[in-house]
């Protein structure tokens, strides 16, 4: 049975401010007809915004979760700053802030993180360096997590930003390089080195510090992230008290959203991981084709209107 989007969820805009004064714009959605069983925070990957996670969010809402999505600061989207100034440390700060500072109505719910690609790496860092936050989170799902940033960036850009900065070939942090669709300043590369993001073993070491249940989902044909890196990082964390699970999606690349059967499988894995983190079982009910279409269309239109018809909830720390 097809359920209209408006009947299934209630949404409000969320605004919160990071420690550095930057404002984060977000979108909180809750099931329309039931109390949420948990809150899932969905940090966006590089060049991803709120609407890119619309289908994942609707799946979560259908299964009783509230969701919180946001645009990163110093990035594309409605939060403060421009993507020219993007850094991984800024992204990790956004994850920490958005996960810690949630609307009052959602604050008491079990809290989960589902993050993909670069945001998954940022999520691991955000949790590892913030014990109180990590203790507040009940589980994390890392979708196609970037582990070896230098290797991934080489594959994405075709040049080695880290080596260029490290070797001194580039010394101006305001010089820029094209990263996919946008120019990003070399401050990005400087941050990767200065803050230790360039260490390929760092993700495993940070994961090993996390006591919460973590599921990592890799793609067998990922052109940007080596599956073995994900497996190794997760194996490095095997001795922690938190449960670990690693899943490899066959016949899938880094661009999951274009592969409908794989997307359904991904949703099953994410929902299964969240249910497992809370010791529950969950029967997955898939969205109908028309529901997926309606969700994507509505959220694209919403985004183009900059969510102007929503009330805004100001969240403070």
């Amino acid at each position: 049975m097809t359920i209209p989007l408006a009947e299934e969820q209630r949404c409000e805009a969320v605004s919160t401010v990071k420690g550095n004064g930057r404002r984060i714009f977000g979108l909180a959605c809750t099931p329309a007809d039931q109390d949420p069983r948990g809150l899932v925070v969905l940090p966006p990957g590089y060049e991803r915004r709120i609407h890119h996670y619309s289908v994942l969010s609707r799946y979560l809402i259908r299964h009783g979760y509230a969701t919180l999505r946001f645009d990163c600061t110093d990035h594309i989207g409605l939060s403060d700053g421009e993507i020219f100034d993007f850094t991984m440390s800024s992204m990790a700060g956004d994850v920490a802030c958005a996960t810690a500072q949630v609307p009052d109505a959602l604050a008491e719910l079990p809290r989960y993180l589902v993050a993909s690609s670069l945001a998954a790496r940022a999520t691991v860092r955000a949790l590892a360096e913030n014990a109180p936050l990590s203790a507040r989170v009940d589980g994390a799902v890392l979708i196609l997590p970037v582990i070896d940033l230098q290797d991934t960036l080489r594959k994405v850009i075709g040049e080695d930003l880290i080596e260029e900065w490290r070797s001194g070939r580039v010394t101006d942090p305001r010089a820029s390089s094209r990263v996919l669709d946008h120019e990003v300043a070399y401050g990005f590369a400087r941050d990767l080195i200065d803050a230790g993001w360039d260490d390929p073993s760092g993700a495993g070491a940070e994961l090993a510090q996390l006591a919460l249940p973590v599921t990592a989902i890799a793609a067998a044909q990922d052109e940007w992230v080596r599956v073995d890196d994900v497996l190794a990082a997760m194996a490095a964390a095997d001795e922690t008290p938190g449960a670990r699970d690693t899943v490899v999606l066959e016949a899938a690349s880094h661009e999951l959203s274009h592969n409908a059967p794989v997307m359904r499988l991904l949703m099953e894995q994410v929902l299964g991981a969240l249910a497992s983190a809370s010791g529950e079982e969950l029967a997955v009910e898939h969205l109908e084709f028309d529901e997926v279409m309606e969700t994507m269309r509505s959220e694209r239109e919403w985004k183009q209107a900059e969510y102007s018809d929503l009330t805004i909830c100001e969240v403070t720390s």
Partner: protein, 391 residues
């Protein structure tokens, strides 16, 4: 996990790290054809894999024989067997449904979930109805995304400006529905409401684009000409970036065939008013019965995707035309699961192999004209007779 607990004279191997434990999962409804549709890249970089295409078409035929009584009867009448196709590779042996049949018969087989009844525009009086289930629709979208990746390149900066109605007005009309799918991939605006083209709004939208936004104007050629004419009448010109902007036409001229302008004339208009060279004008081919989209490359050639077979048949005896020889176009599309995608169309054209000047491999489709005469239409009717005469 420590290895080497058994007694052995070999040195202890407990330092060997076992492969990390993990689960491998795969969607049950994803086969090799789906992998190419959804994940295939550089699909035209190598010569066509004919054996693979034959296998996909044979498998699709077997599926329809099992699940579609109409096709099963047709195959029985023709003495067609998928294994024989696998053995001979004779694609011309596959039974065809004339496009006219979709106007008169329910062609659906087993369908998964909700079925969308996709309708044609009814240019010749009666509307075709093509039942698409979820898997068929998803695969159709897969063919669109596959083509966009290959021929237009994917970027989040693209803006689709559609000379057509939004989804809520498109209804089941296939062409309009297909245009609304742009919304799934790009930020999109629609410039047709209540059957009225909003040229002024479209022009303002283009003028107001941000510097890094990459527009694609999409619509039927007649509406594109309407808009360009509107610009001419007001002396308006825009210089779109020839490195990033596209004009995409689709759907043909339909009821406005009398007003059609040639491709060179259209290119002249686009160049004059939008500042784009011919290489940035791309027609795409699809029809309501066809579940794949054929994209044009920068040289203006329509590339046949590697899963699809297009065969031109001589109208006199329905024999296979030589490469480059005009004939009635037939399509063997294995991506359709809820109906047989083996279609005898109302179009004339030719097919040639051997690749393209753009450097891509594979087959090229050249459309020449629609069927017009009674004699020509008789070819399709011959095909239908097979079905009608079958109990």
């Amino acid at each position: 996990m420590a290895i080497g607990s058994q007694a052995s004279s070999e040195p202890p191997v407990s330092s060997v790290v076992a492969p990390p434990a993990h689960r491998r999962v795969r969607p049950a409804d994803l086969d090799a054809l789906d992998e190419l549709l959804y994940e295939g890249r550089d699909s035209y970089a190598r010569p066509l894999d004919e054996a693979r295409r034959v296998e996909w078409i044979a498998a699709a035929a077997a599926h329809h024989m099992e699940h579609n009584p109409l096709f099963a009867r047709l195959a029985g009448k023709r003495g067609f067997a998928p294994d024989a196709l696998r053995a001979t590779g004779d694609l011309a042996s596959v039974p065809l449904l004339s496009s006219g049949l979709f106007k008169r018969r329910d062609v659906r087989g087993a369908c998964s979930g909700t079925v969308k009844e996709c309708t044609s525009s009814g240019t010749q009086g009666t509307r075709s109805i093509v039942p698409r289930d979820r898997r068929t629709l998803e695969r159709f979208i897969g063919t669109v995304l596959h083509g966009l990746h290959e021929f237009h390149g994917h970027t989040e900066l693209r803006r689709a400006l559609v000379l057509g109605p939004p989804a809520e007005e498109a209804g089941d009309l296939w062409f309009a529905y297909v245009l609304t799918l742009m919304e799934l991939v790009y930020d999109t605006r629609f410039f047709m409401h209540d059957e009225h083209l909003e040229s002024e709004e479209l022009h303002a939208e283009i003028v107001g684009l941000q510097a890094d936004e990459q527009p694609t104007l999409v619509g039927a050629p007649a509406l594109l000409v309407d808009h360009l004419t509107w610009m001419c009448e007001r002396g308006l010109r825009i210089a779109l970036d020839p490195e990033t902007a596209y004009v995409v036409t689709a759907g043909g001229w339909k009821r406005r065939g009398d007003e059609s302008v040639s491709r060179p004339e259209l290119a002249e208009l686009v160049s004059d008013r939008l500042g784009l060279p011919p290489s940035r004008i791309r027609d795409v081919f699809n029809m309501v019965e066809l579940n794949s989209v054929l994209f044009e490359c920068e040289t203006g050639a329509k590339h046949v995707p590697p899963w699809l077979a297009v065969i031109a048949l001589r109208p006199a005896d329905m024999s296979v035309a030589d490469p480059g020889e005009e004939g009635i176009l037939t399509f063997l599309d294995p991506t359709a699961t809820s109906y047989p995608g083996f279609i005898c169309s109302d179009d004339f054209g030719s097919v040639r192999a051997g690749g393209c000047a753009c450097g891509r491999h594979g087959e090229i489709l050249e459309l020449t004209r629609r069927m017009t005469t009674v004699e020509e239409r008789g070819c399709g009717l011959k095909l239908e007779r097979y079905v009608r005469d079958t109990p």
